[in-house]
Structures are given as structure tokens and as C-alpha cells.
């Protein structure tokens, strides 16, 4: 039988910011008696319970599924988006990755395009805005041909699935020195450019999406590959190469403007 869960004490240096117009600051908060089986989010729950009992305002943070698929949670932990463990969202990061007595620095995902709303909560709606500019295939409900009418080679389907695995958390943006959303964008562009269903609109999609990305205030890719490293779903920057290809093709060889 297992030993009783190990419990540790930590010090959080955590970003507090009352609202998007207010100035933020780091606050030191003790996280006491933390079970190593907790997720990082559960550790914050426990700290918040303690703050509430002391009559203080709990730390605001977004989270939802707590199983690494919805993309809601996220913070920069000790300088790394979603923390030190590779291919792991904040909600799947467990406290056994830390040691008793550690000081942990926790900040929101920072980017010009992501406004801080409160503490660790940021506004990622620009990502939806990008998708609205062309992250779709223009097909109305009804009238679709039989699913097997259009065979798609297995390796193409697999590559499309690799690109489609993005959870839209924004860690790539937070990790990028130029706060670029290129990895996020390239996932959707690649998925739809690889599949035959997406080809008729490929040029328009690439141009509209890249334009919107700029309007929203995201930077350009500078080949640092930090995005790939931070991505909890391990999206490859091969997708960015595809995005560039699609963008150049559309810019030089299509009638779209």
C-alpha cells in the first residue's frame, strides 16, 4: 500500500491586477500543506479557500475541463507558459513537479493582443476573431455528399489531425518573444489546406487570417521555436512553414486580394 500523500509548503509570487485599466503587481502568498497529488489548479483552489477564510479576495484564474483539452487554463509559471513539464497544460501539471520550500512565480499569459482582465485572467477573444476571418469551410448544413464520396489518403488525414489538435489556449503567443499567434493560426490553415474540402477557399482564407492577425496586434514569427516548446499538444512549427507557403501562394499566384 502507498504511503500517505506527501505534503509540501510553497511560496507563490503571484500577479495581482484588479482590472485591465489598473496597474498590477506581484504579491507573495503562502501555499501551505499542499498535497503533491494536487494539480496546479487544485493548489490554487486550496490557496483561494485559505484567502477567502481570511477575508481576502481570491486569485482570479480561468479554468474549466481540468483535463487538458478545453484550453481555458493557462499561466506563466517560473517563466514558462503552462509551467515546467513538457506537453502539459496547467491543469494537468501536478505539484509533485515541485519541492518543499520552492518559490514559484506565477503570471498571466502576456501579449499585446491579450488584455489582462484580472489577476491571471486574460482576454483571448482575438483568437476567435482570427477564426472568424476564415477558419472554416463554407458549407451550409444539409446537402453534404456521402462521407465516403471523397477518399482522403490516411497520411494526409493524420497530418490534418496533428494540426487540428490545437486547443486554442494561447500558450504559443505567451511564449513567443514577438507575441505571435502563428502556431495557433498555422494549425487551422494547415488542417484545411491539407484536406481537399478546404482547397477552394485556401487563398482567401490565408490572406484574411494573416491580415486579421496583424490587426489584432499579434507579432510575426521570428523562428525562436518557443511556441512549439510551450504547446501542450506539441504542434510542430512545420505547420508555420505550411502557413507561409499558403500565404505566399495566395499573395503571388491567386486573384484574391
Amino acid at each position: 500500500m502507498k504511503k500517505l500523500p506527501k505534503r509540501i509548503n510553497l511560496t507563490l509570487k503571484i500577479w495581482r491586477q484588479q482590472g485591465s485599466e489598473k496597474k498590477g503587481h506581484f504579491e507573495t502568498v503562502a501555499a501551505r500543506d499542499i498535497s503533491v497529488h494536487m494539480s496546479f489548479i487544485e493548489m490554487l483552489d486550496s490557496v483561494n479557500e485559505q484567502l477567502a477564510m481570511e477575508g481576502k479576495d481570491p486569485i482570479a484564474f480561468d479554468n474549466d475541463c481540468r483535463e487538458g483539452i478545453c484550453g481555458t487554463c493557462g499561466a506563466v509559471v517560473d517563466g514558462r507558459a503552462h509551467g515546467p513539464q513538457k506537453a502539459t497544460t496547467l491543469c494537468q501539471l501536478h505539484m509533485r513537479q515541485f519541492s518543499d520550500g520552492d518559490t514559484i512565480v506565477v503570471e498571466p499569459f502576456r501579449a499585446r493582443a491579450f488584455k489582462v482582465l484580472k489577476d491571471l485572467v486574460v482576454d483571448r477573444s482575438p483568437l476567435d476573431k482570427i477564426m472568424t476571418a476564415g477558419g472554416f469551410i463554407s458549407v451550409n448544413t444539409g446537402g453534404a455528399p456521402d462521407g465516403n464520396a471523397l477518399p482522403i489518403a490516411q497520411e494526409i488525414a493524420e497530418k490534418a489531425m496533428d494540426a487540428a489538435a490545437c486547443i486554442g489556449c494561447g500558450a504559443c503567443v505567451a511564449a513567443c518573444p514577438s507575441a505571435s499567434a502563428m502556431l495557433f493560426v498555422s494549425g487551422k490553415i494547415s488542417q484545411l489546406a491539407l484536406l481537399p474540402q478546404g482547397k477552394p477557399e485556401a487563398a482567401r482564407r490565408a490572406l484574411n487570417i494573416v491580415k486579421t492577425m496583424d490587426v489584432c496586434g499579434f507579432g510575426n514569427c521570428s523562428n525562436h521555436r518557443e511556441c512549439e516548446n510551450a504547446c501542450p499538444k506539441e504542434l510542430s512549427i512545420v505547420n508555420i512553414a505550411r502557413l507561409n507557403r499558403e500565404f505566399f501562394k495566395a499573395s503571388f499566384f491567386s486573384d484574391e486580394t
Partner: protein, 637 residues
């Protein structure tokens, strides 16, 4: 109240076609005059919003998350069923219909389920056209697998992320309509109340979750796609913001609630490690194809599992169910695990789990082959528990996963409130007392893409709607009531947080209204819930202020609903003295210990009407008529 399901006449196979023909149409030029509110952006909400906007209706879509792409449909792993019969195994619409009715233990409407099976094929076509990257075989055609004990391979999948890919498909259709201006999206909003004018659903009041401001929105119809109520158990596979609030608030406004005690407990989840646990993670059911379930013969055997020899192990599923063994259905496997833990034979930190052992499978097939099949699941397990299933048996325990009950709807998916439609998990319509694997995604999308676009037109064409805007007193009154409620919660200033109360409510529900129920326990739960509710209104603590991003306040409001809603579940479980599907009454079992239905008395939907705070709800019944299938008793011996 007379419940009329409005099931069309005629033979089962022709009902939906006939109904679509008989439904009145709204002239295309007139559609733009109608405004529709859709609450929720999961599979049902996103697909409904997009499809209605494509037809020319003005749609306002609300979601509780920061983006519509994050609704909890995203977490569905396994797949989606369709009666394509691509595998040539003899599948058909009729077979999918039959399997679904039987799987639901004959507690669903034949006509609804048949329509669902018909539409299943259109869904796959639609999703492929949207670019959903389904798994494919070497020839490039769509791949299928058999799922959840089905005898034909009819499940379409995208790795272990089918829900995510289908939702992103529906989301893409939704954002396309946002780009045309036909859908207005309002994210980070929670529905606080439904607004009725002349008895019709004419709008909602929402709370802006960033600044706490209440906002009123008027429309010609309201479509709820707000998911299930599994979080009443506190520990469940649901997301944190999944809640019964919207449905419950509609119920309080007069919508009837059907079969609330029909909940599904999934047998293979990662067990909890202590009171800090906030949710449970599902491990795919497919693991039971190769894993062997066991517990030590002697309770309190503290040896490492690898050191316990075969003679000291109890492979209780293989013993008790020699022909199905580890592959018995979800509810049977769940109850058996609970029985072992209740008998003191549970293992793990909290003694609340059983082993799922792959040692024999690895010996037989080799580590490499097992890794090919389950590698990603083993990795996920190790990430969460820090134990490798290649070296040590997994530990699993059942968890609340899906709720079959929901707001009562007729064949048009309209509730008992005219103009209030309910789609997806939020309604009760298609799964009876138990949902089959890979059928939830199918129902959400069928409702949103292919049912509501027709039936809502029939409602508009046959109804007179007075002009209403948010200046109407009904909106003012609703806003006032909500404000009063929030002020009351903020003023209590007690000593226990919402999480703390919710955990206790969850324990009561899990203990007395979970995998098995009996009269004595249910009555005890009723008392405990009332005591807890009374304490809640005296002693809850909500930190912060209300006009702000305040998760504690959100959770407290939802908990207030759950504390009332839990009682309806208990009443329903008390009323239904038979066992069926996921609802197991100790008093009603066969000699073999299996669920025993009572078709004579309970071949009906139990439908509950709100009768005021602290009062027992009123019971109505919708009889279920089976003209096309013969009722049979399950046996897995």
C-alpha cells in the same frame, strides 16, 4: 397538466418525413424578422446557432466560457455512432434505433430514437464536409470501430479527441455566421433567468462574468443547449462550469423536468486522492478489452499489487459474469466496483478503487502491441497519477459522467413553455435510462443541425408573437429578483465556501443517489439535503464583490440551484421503485442481482413540476408506448 409529445402519426419509419412535410414553413424573406437566443455553444448550441443563422434567422448566442470552442463537448473521447454500415456487417438505421432503445432499458420514446438513428448518417456527411479529420483506413475511406459492446463497428472517431474535432467543426460553422453578422456572440455570460411574456419564452437575463453587470436580451424564442447536471455529485468528469442552472431556472419558470434520477456513472475513471480533488478524469472504456479487474481477497492487504499472488486476488467480474467478464456494461461494472469497496476491499490512497491489470495482456501480446492500443491512455494515466500501468496495475473507480434526464421536450424539442426549446444533454429525449457509448455526440448534433432548424419554423409559423423588447416589465422584474438573490448571497458572510458545501452535497448524492439507491437511503438524503440547504443560507461565505470577475459568487449561485435540484433527483428516485438502466433500486433486482424493470407500472417518463421553494415537486407522467420493439430483460451471465 396533459403532456402531449406531439408524435406524428403513421409508421415509425415515415414519421419524421411526414412531420417535416406537415410543419408549416416560414417564408425565407420573413425569417430575418425573427430573433432567436441560443444558450450554450457545445455540439448542440454551436450547430443550432450556425444552422439557424444559415436559414436567415437572427441569432444571439451565449456561452459561459471565454470562447465558444471551450464548451465541454470538447472533452468527449470515444466517437460518434452512425448507421452507415460502411463495414458491411448488417448495420442499419433500424438496428441503431433498436440498440439505442434497448440500451436505454426501454425508457425512451421510439419515435425520437428512430429519428436520431436516421439523422446519424447526415451528421457524418456534414462533419466530413466541414473538414473534421476523422480517422481513415489505408484506402482513404472513413474508419470505424466497435464501441461500448456494440456488435457492429459503427463508431466514427478522430483519435481519442472526437468530441474536440466535432465541436471545432460546429464552432467553425458558428464563426462563419459570426463573420456574416447573422450570429452575435456574447461570451463569458451566465444565464440567470428565463423571461416569459404572455406565457411564451421571450428572452433571458444574463450576468456578464467579467464585470458582474446584468444584461437583458429579448427574442422570439429561446433555445437552451446547456448540458447536463452531473456536477451535482461534485466529483464528476464534467467541467467546472458545467451546471444545472439554466435548466433549473427554466424549471422554476414552469418548464417541466423529466427523469432527473437517470444519471450515468462511468466505471473507468482515475480515482480521487483526497478531499482536495476537484474533478475526475475519464479513462476510455476500451481499456476493459484487455485489462483484468481485481481486488485483494482480503480487505486491508497492504502488499504492493505485484506482490499479491493470484490465489489472493479476486477477479470478481470474471467470477460473477463468466461470459461477459470484464466487458459487462457500464452500470454493472460500476456497481460491482462499489460493492467491493463498500466491503472494505478497495485499494489505493482512499481505499476507493479497484485494480485494472494489464500484466497478463502484456505477457500475451507484448508491451509494444499494448502500447499501440493504449499508449496515449497509459501516458495520460501516468501524467496524473505518477504510476506506469506498464509496471503496476491501474487503479480505477466509477464517476458521474452523463445525465440522461433533462427538461421535458416534445417531438419538436419544445419544452412545456411555448418558445423554449431544449437540445442536447439538457433535454431528456433520446437515451432513456442509460446512454450507449458514442451516442451523446450523435444526439447533440442531430438536435442542432437537423431537428431545430425545421421545428422552430413550425413554431413561428403557427404562433402569434406580440412585439417585446427589454423595456418590458418582465425583464425589470427578473433583473430585480436576480439582484436581490445576489445581494442576499453576498450578505450572509458565513464561514463555509461554496466549494466546501458543494463537496458535502456531492457526498450525499453519491452515497444515496449514485450507483445504487434504496428507499431508506433516499429518505435520509432528503433530510440531509434540507439540513445542508438551511445551513447554506445561514453560513455561506462569498468573498469579493458582485460587480467584478468573481468565480466564488458564480459557484455559490450555481450551488444554490443544485441544493434545490438535488431534491428533485431524490424524489424521482424514490418514485421509481423499479430498477432500469443507470437507476438501480436495491429493492428491485433479479435473483442474480441484476436490475429488474417493472414495465407494468413504470413504462413512463416521470415529469416534475415546480411547486414553490421548499415544497415537493408535482409528478406528471408521459406513458411510453412500444409498438415496434419487444421489451426484454438484460442478462450478462
Amino acid at each position: 397538466m396533459q403532456l402531449d409529445a406531439h408524435i406524428p402519426a403513421g409508421p415509425l419509419t415515415e414519421k419524421w418525413d411526414r412531420h417535416r412535410f406537415e410543419l408549416k414553413l416560414v417564408n425565407p424573406a420573413n425569417k430575418r424578422k425573427f430573433e432567436i437566443i441560443v444558450v450554450g455553444t457545445g455540439l448542440a448550441g454551436a450547430s443550432a446557432s450556425a444552422s439557424l443563422a444559415e436559414l436567415g434567422y437572427h441569432v444571439k448566442t451565449f456561452c459561459i466560457q471565454d470562447s465558444p470552442r471551450r464548451a465541454h463537448s470538447i472533452a468527449a473521447q470515444g466517437g460518434i455512432n452512425a448507421a452507415k454500415n460502411y463495414t458491411n456487417e448488417g448495420d442499419s438505421i433500424w438496428r441503431l434505433f433498436y440498440d439505442t432503445v434497448k440500451g436505454g432499458d426501454f425508457r425512451a420514446r421510439e419515435a425520437n430514437v428512430y429519428r436520431l438513428a436516421q439523422l446519424s448518417n447526415n451528421i457524418i456527411d456534414q462533419c466530413v464536409a466541414q473538414g473534421v479529420p476523422f480517422a481513415r483506413d489505408y484506402g482513404g475511406l472513413l474508419a470505424n470501430r466497435s464501441f461500448g459492446g456494440a456488435q457492429v463497428a459503427r463508431t466514427f472517431y478522430a483519435r481519442g479527441q472526437t468530441g474536440q474535432q466535432l465541436l471545432l467543426g460546429a464552432y467553425s460553422a458558428l464563426v462563419r455566421q459570426i463573420s456574416t453578422g447573422m450570429v452575435t456572440l456574447l461570451a463569458r455570460r451566465e444565464m440567470m433567468d428565463l423571461v416569459l411574456v404572455n406565457g411564451q419564452a421571450r428572452g433571458i437575463v444574463v450576468r456578464n462574468l467579467i464585470n458582474g453587470v446584468l444584461e437583458s436580451h429579448a427574442a422570439d424564442a429561446v433555445v437552451l443547449c446547456t448540458g447536463g447536471y452531473g456536477n451535482v455529485y461534485y466529483l464528476s468528469t464534467n467541467a467546472e462550469s458545467s451546471n444545472v442552472g439554466a435548466g433549473f431556472r427554466a424549471y422554476r419558470k414552469g418548464a417541466l423536468f423529466a427523469n432527473p434520477c437517470f444519471t450515468q456513472i462511468h466505471p473507468t475513471c482515475i480515482p480521487h486522492t483526497g478531499d482536495h480533488q476537484s474533478k475526475l478524469t475519464l479513462m476510455s472504456e476500451s481499456l476493459r478489452n484487455d485489462g483484468r479487474v481485481w481486488v485483494p481477497k482480503n480487505g486491508g492487504d497492504i502488499r504492493d499489487p505485484q506482490d499479491i499472488p493470484d490465489k489472493d486476488r479476486d477477479y470478481y467480474l470474471e467470477q460473477k459474469y463468466p461470459s461477459f467478464g470484464n466487458l459487462v456494461p457500464r452500470d454493472v461494472a460500476s456497481r460491482a466496483a462499489k460493492a467491493q469497496c463498500d466491503a472494505g476491499k478497495g485499494v489505493g490512497l482512499t481505499r476507493c478503487s479497484v485494480y485494472l491489470d494489464f500484466a497478463d495482456a502484456i505477457k500475451r501480446d507484448g508491451r509494444e502491441n499494448i502500447a499501440k492500443k493504449y499508449g496515449n491512455l497509459f501516458d495520460m494515466y501516468e501524467l496524473i497519477t505518477d504510476d506506469s500501468p506498464y509496471q503496476k496495475p491501474m487503479m480505477i473507480y466509477p464517476a458521474s459522467h452523463y445525465t440522461m434526464g433533462g427538461l421535458w421536450v416534445d417531438y419538436n424539442l419544445m419544452s412545456t413553455i411555448p418558445g423554449l426549446f431544449v437540445l442536447g444533454e439538457a433535454n431528456f429525449s433520446d437515451h432513456g435510462a442509460n446512454r450507449l457509448g458514442a451516442s451523446a455526440l450523435m444526439q447533440g448534433l442531430a438536435d442542432g443541425y437537423f431537428v431545430i432548424p425545421y421545428t422552430i419554423g413550425g413554431y413561428f409559423a403557427g404562433t402569434t408573437l406580440a412585439p417585446v423588447n427589454t423595456d418590458h416589465t418582465a425583464f425589470k422584474e427578473a433583473t430585480q429578483t436576480i439582484n436581490d438573490g445576489i445581494a442576499k448571497l453576498m450578505s450572509i458572510n458565513g464561514k463555509r465556501t461554496a466549494d466546501n458545501f458543494a463537496r458535502e452535497l456531492g457526498k450525499i448524492m453519491w452515497g444515496y443517489c449514485g450507483m445504487s439507491r434504496d428507499e431508506q437511503g433516499l429518505n435520509k438524503a432528503l433530510t440531509l439535503i434540507r439540513e445542508l440547504r438551511a445551513e447554506f443560507w445561514q453560513n455561506v461565505l462569498v468573498p469579493g464583490i458582485d460587480k467584478d470577475y468573481n468565480k466564488s459568487l458564480e459557484k455559490t449561485g450555481r450551488l444554490a440551484d443544485s441544493l434545490e435540484f438535488a431534491e428533485i433527483m431524490i424524489h424521482d428516485a424514490l418514485y421509481r421503485t423499479e430498477s432500469c438502466g443507470g437507476h438501480f433500486r436495491e429493492e428491485s433486482q433479479t435473483e442474480e442481482g441484476e436490475a429488474k424493470r417493472d414495465d407494468e407500472n413504470f413504462s413512463c417518463v416521470s415529469v416534475w413540476e415546480y411547486d414553490g421553494y421548499d415544497k415537493a415537486p408535482k409528478l406528471h407522467k408521459e406513458p411510453l408506448v412500444f409498438e415496434n420493439v419487444e421489451l426484454s430483460q438484460r442478462s450478462y451471465k
